[in-house]
């Protein structure tokens, strides 16, 4: 040990590594570099292992499903059967309304604005190491056609956006992440607002923040749906973000702010859909 310490003094190592980190930060800030070749190495070492672990995890959770008793299954089946009946009738209604809508749209010669986006499903295989930020890794990457800035949804709600892509994985920054901001829109009135993630309100009440909303006619109340806006430069329009939980006027008297409960359950996120389309902004 003593002999090794007589090599390079630890002070030099400290200085060298500090400078290296600061250079990384500057390069990252000016060019967006985040690892380059190192990332490829990491991709081949860690991603397969993470996939394996999450596979074992999911098979364990499946086997706990198997342990349900017969009675539970029967009652569950009955409940589901009634739900199926209910939904079938709803579906027929909806189909009628849909056909009516298509007719009317044709009359108005409207393009179908919110076309069905093409998506690909992926599993969440790892979560960010720090408790401060909400990012996670999924098991599909550029080999499956995923690119940076693609939107990610789960169920019917917005989850986040792809920030990094490797051959077999991609990293997603969720909308509840403290540093994310999404340009949103009130569904009923088309008023624009900004939806930003916030660790504090997420931990204490499971909500994210809504701000800069101009609502002169006081039409927004709790329960109103908020979707991604059509003026956002990264998010595709019309994806549901959540429902307004509380709203109050700002001190400037012009805008309002409040909180939104996201539709996606971020605590138990296992599978997500990536929309294979990035927003064209003509830039």
């Amino acid at each position: 040990m003593r002999r090794r310490n007589s090599g390079i003094p630890s002070r030099f190592i400290l200085a060298f590594l500090s400078i290296l980190c600061i250079v990384f930060l500057f390069v990252n800030y000016s060019t967006g570099f985040s690892g380059g070749p190192l990332q490829t190495v990491a991709n081949y070492i860690f991603i397969p292992m993470q996939k394996g672990i999450s596979y074992i995890g999911s098979s364990v959770s499946v086997s706990s499903e198997d342990a349900k008793t017969k009675e539970e299954l029967i009652s569950e089946n009955q409940a589901l059967q009634t739900q199926v009946d209910e939904l079938t009738s709803q579906l027929t209604n909806m189909q009628l309304q849909q056909s009516e809508l298509t007719n009317l749209q044709e009359l108005y010669a409207l393009d179908q604005q919110y076309a069905d986006y093409k998506t690909t499903g992926a599993h969440v295989i790892a979560k960010g190491t720090s408790n401060w930020f909400d990012t996670f890794t999924i098991d599909k990457g550029s080999d499956d056609g995923i690119k940076v800035d693609m939107n990610v949804i789960a169920g019917s709600g917005l989850v986040g956006i792809v920030t990094e892509v490797g051959p077999g994985y991609s990293v997603i920054k969720s909308i509840i992440n403290d540093s994310s901001a999404v340009s949103g829109m009130i569904l009923d009135t088309s008023d624009n607002c900004i939806v930003s993630g916030d660790l504090e309100s997420m931990t204490s009440s499971n909500t994210i923040l809504l701000s800069n909303l101009e609502d002169t006619e006081n039409q927004v109340s709790s329960g109103t749906s908020v979707v991604t806006s059509n003026i956002s430069n990264k998010y595709l329009p019309g994806i549901l973000i959540g429902y307004v939980t509380s709203i109050e006027a700002d001190s400037n008297g012009l805008t309002k702010s409040g909180t939104i409960t996201p539709v996606v359950d971020f605590k138990h996120l296992q599978d997500v859909l990536v929309i294979l389309e990035t927003k064209e902004t003509g830039e």
């Binding site: 590594l17 295989i125 504090e200």
Partner: protein, 178 residues
């Protein structure tokens, strides 16, 4: 020059970091308490810091932080800097360290985790004018520290035994060379 034990050391430490990283990202996310997980990489950095000195602490901290940055960092290099400094600072306590005594390691790990928490808060939250320190201490920093402390009990013995084994190998090959 005995190159063999050095390679053995690098490989085994790398494997240890990899295992901790995988545990933290893929396993402990299913066992979150109060919506925080333990920070194994900080514990590892701190252990090697006071067991092996400033130099190794800094290098291992740097590697752990860089791994974080590669996968999840929004500012590439920031975590590497924080982890590296924590590893270096832990190195100053090497003279006080005796293997059998578990109080110092656990104390240093908790302090390291709190420093890490504050560093992240100051650079990445306070810088964006999120000023409610009390909340962040109560709901992120302290729970994370407690959880890390609990997991550290186990991790400490693994790291300690591994280090002992490596040092034995190094001594043996020293003798061979002479």
């Amino acid at each position: 020059m005995e190159i063999k034990p050095l390679i053995l050391r690098i490989v085994s430490i790398f494997l240890l970091i990899a295992v901790c990283f995988l545990l933290q990202t893929s396993v402990f996310i299913h066992f979150e308490l109060a919506s925080v997980g333990p920070n194994l990489l900080i514990a590892l950095t701190s252990f090697f810091g006071f067991m092996r000195g400033r130099k190794e602490g800094a290098i291992i901290g740097f590697s752990c932080g860089l791994l974080n940055d590669l996968f999840f960092g929004s500012y590439f290099g920031a975590f590497a800097l924080i982890y590296m400094l924590i590893g270096y600072l832990n190195g100053f306590f090497r003279k006080l360290f005796y293997g059998d005594d578990i109080k110092l390691p656990l104390f240093l790990v908790s302090i390291s985790d709190v420093i890490y928490g504050f560093a992240v808060y100051v650079f990445m939250f306070l810088a964006r004018s999120k000023t409610n320190v009390g909340f962040y201490v109560k709901s992120v920093i302290l729970p994370e520290m407690v959880y890390t402390l609990i997991v550290s009990f186990l991790l400490y013995f693994i790291v300690f035994k591994l280090n002992q084994w490596l040092e034995k190998k190094e001594k043996r090959s020293d003798r061979l060379v002479r």
